[in-house]
Amino acid sequence: MNKDDTDITDESIVMLVQKGDKEAFGLLVDRYQNKLARYGRKFLSRVEDIEDMVQNVFISAYENIQNFDVTLKFSSWIYRIAHNTFVNALRKNTKSFLTIDFDTLLSHPVYDDPDIKEREQKEMRVLIDQGLEDISSKYREVLVLHYLEEISYKDIAEILQVPIGTIGIRIKRAKEALREKIDQKKI
């Protein structure tokens, strides 16, 4: 197999790794290391050792790769591991005994319109650069995944393991919070 082949899907590479092709795992690292680093930097905001964290994500992915179902999307799976790693890093700095996420309690309508997203994309990227650090990590994360990593609501719901409606409402609130913070900065 030519391992530089970009046509081969992530899931096919995983199958090779599961069968014992250790080198093939390098392809997955190539494909995701910078994406995960960007996600981590934006999500964690003030963390310096992002390289170590991303490395931990890949170590965890390799250790658990036999648990991956190749009929599902590898990208959602690796982002899920990254999410858990980053959340654990955040928790080290905050003492939260029991948290209830009220966004997950009830269902919310979802409008994941690609046309609207395309129009918003540029504006949101500018806003994210200006004020992402000032909003809570819960909101930062969905904005990064949706507007920077360009992941759909459905896939973000799989990554965060919450109902899809929760993603919709969280992105809406995140945008409001971001705009509010930027307005406050301007004043």
Partner: protein, 252 residues
């Protein structure tokens, strides 16, 4: 600018660790075992939840507390007073844990938390009530309780819950019937005779159905040993034997 910031290269480092054996894949059976254990735990919690719910229903039935619901709003309040809240709270906590277990599965986390909780609560209610009201499951356990493992046997010994003196609720045996008044033997305190003032709006057919020697459920306000009843119901299938069991458990 942004892209430059996020460029990293950890591929060689990771591949070296893999090649040297510092990092290794966990075998597939570990994940399968974990899944089986989680499924078994979820199923076990579900079974216990249904069991407790069916016990609550059985206890209300065998103690005739559910008859109180036929006495209107005051009967409903009296029902709440004698309801085994402790078991219900334990059951709700179990359903909460059940919900947490199910969130490890795809179909679990796709549901909003509150809706999943409601679905589980409804399922436990339906199965629990159905098991008690639709089958003889609990009755047969009660009959065989002496031969069952002690925790289950002891648990079912508590199924028939006594009425507590002073709450205005009792199973009584009619000794005499007067005008708007009964003289009864109070089962709550072996053989004590008390007066029961009948409600003014007591339907005539119920009054006429009362005969000396009947066991009746009385609900009312209790003052100075006299019950001012707001509801009375004949309990034709009340087994004296069960009353005795209850009395023994109160005054033991």
């Amino acid at each position: 600018m942004e892209k430059e910031e996020t460029q990293i290269n950890i591929k060689d480092k990771i591949l070296n660790e893999i090649q040297s054996g510092d990092i290794s894949m966990r075998p597939r059976f570990q994940f399968t075992l974990r899944l089986i254990a989680l499924s078994a735990l979820t199923f076990f919690i579900l079974l216990i939840s249904v069991f407790i719910l069916t016990f609550i229903s059985f206890s209300a039935r065998i103690s005739h507390h559910d008859e109180l619901l036929g006495f209107g709003f005051r009967g409903f309040l009296a029902f709440l007073l004698v309801f085994p809240w402790f078991f219900l709270i334990v059951d709700i906590i179990l359903i909460f844990f059940l919900e947490r277990c199910l969130r490890n599965f795809k179909f679990g986390y796709r549901f909003p938390v509150f809706y999943l909780f409601l679905v589980l609560l409804s399922a436990v209610l339906i199965f629990g009530l159905g098991l008690d009201r639709g089958t003889s499951f609990n009755d047969s356990i009660l009959e065989r309780r002496e031969h069952l493992p002690r925790p289950i046997g002891n648990f079912y010994n508590q199924a028939n819950r006594p009425m507590i003196k002073g709450e205005g609720l009792c199973f009584c045996k009619i000794l005499a019937i007067g005008n708007k008044k009964l003289i009864v033997e109070d089962s709550r305190k072996g053989g004590t005779v008390i007066d029961v003032l009948l409600p003014n709006d007591l339907p005539l057919e119920i009054f006429e159905s009362l005969t000396i020697g009947d066991t009746v459920l009385i609900a009312g306000q209790e003052r100075d040993g006299v019950i001012e009843a707001f509801g009375i119901r004949n309990i034709p299938n009340m087994h004296l034997e069960r009353l005795e069991i209850r009395e023994q458990s109160i005054y033991r």
